[in-house]
């Protein structure tokens, strides 16, 4: 095996905190609703996403295509491992590009009331296969998406 064909794994943890001016129940609803997610998860106007399957329940599986509207080359599988209404969501995601897996991640969403607001902490534990660009993609995409959630309220 030559060096060029050896895969390299990159493991990283990304933490993003936001405070939203609404209740934990409404923030939770923005994660639960597929329609809401299709609004806020789009990081920029040229990007697109479409669900082939959506099962927001423990043991459920979402299958989503995303990327540029003109080229939705990424396929995400999201499995819900734990859901506590208005408080916590734990999910495992894998992302393939053109049929080849590029990254897997464990994503924890924690919601806490803070007065009349809600503090949200999203922790992404990412394993990227051959790709620092995937880690950059997580940072850029999720930064925009979590900012977008504020527009839901």
């Amino acid at each position: 095996m030559t060096a060029a064909t050896q895969t390299r794994m990159l493991h990283d943890k990304i933490v993003m905190e936001r405070t939203y001016n609404t209740s934990p129940a409404r923030v939770f609803a923005a994660w639960e609703s597929v329609e809401a997610r299709l609004r806020w998860s789009i990081p920029f106007p040229e990007a697109g996403a479409a669900y082939d399957q959506a099962e927001f329940r423990v043991g459920g599986l979402d299958i989503m295509r995303c990327g540029l509207k003109s080229d939705m080359r990424f396929l995400a599988h999201v499995r819900y491992l734990e859901i506590i209404n208005d408080a916590r969501i734990v999910m495992a995601e894998s992302i393939a590009e053109d049929g080849k897996i590029r990254a897997a991640s464990l994503i924890t969403v924690e919601l806490e009331p803070a007065g009349k607001e809600t503090k949200q902490t999203v922790t992404m534990q990412v394993s990227a296969i051959d790709g620092a660009d995937m880690l950059d993609g997580y940072r850029v995409g999720w930064t925009a998406a979590l900012d977008n959630i504020a527009k839901e309220f």
Binding site: H11, H77, A92, T108
Partner: protein, 151 residues
């Protein structure tokens, strides 16, 4: 109840005398894995259920000496034969979720043997388990594996 999540990542490296295909098979073959993959102090255990393919599920469950049932459930996310697999797994004690993890296991040729690199990215839920015991348990399991394949 005060909810909490502790995120922790650890990596364990372990060398085996056997070549990568043999070490990999000890994880991918249900009969081979059942020989070493179980808890340390079990009063009884269910047969290992293992469907080793992308999207396939795995379950290992046993009752420990204190009478609690410990259950491991996993789904395989990525498989590169003899080289790597990635799974997500989550643990319950009785009906209480205690952790969720991403586990990456890599197999590299090391002389005539294998260097195994085990990386776990874990979220420990509500204080029922933690980084130190999980890492200790992983080292114990990798030693059980060594004994099962003769080093």
């Amino acid at each position: 109840m005060k909810r909490s999540v502790v995120h922790h990542t650890f990596t364990v490296e372990r060398r085996y005398k056997a070549q990568p295909s043999r070490v990999f098979a000890a994880w991918s073959d249900p009969h081979a894995k059942a020989k070493w993959f179980h808890g340390p102090d079990e009063r009884s255990r269910d047969p290992l259920e293992l469907d080793f393919r992308v999207g396939g599920k795995e379950r290992a469950s046993g009752v420990s000496k204190d009478g609690t049932r410990h259950t491991y459930d996993a789904i395989y996310l990525n498989i590169a034969p003899d080289e790597r697999f990635i799974l997500t797994y989550w643990m319950h004690i009785d009906d209480t979720p205690i952790s969720a993890s991403l586990q990456t296991v890599e197999f590299a040729r090391d002389g005539g043997g294998t260097l195994l690199t085990f990386t776990e990215q874990a979220a420990f839920l509500d204080g029922f388990d933690g980084p130190a015991s999980r890492e200790e348990g992983t080292r114990w399991l990798l030693e059980q594996l060594a004994q099962a394949i003769g080093g």
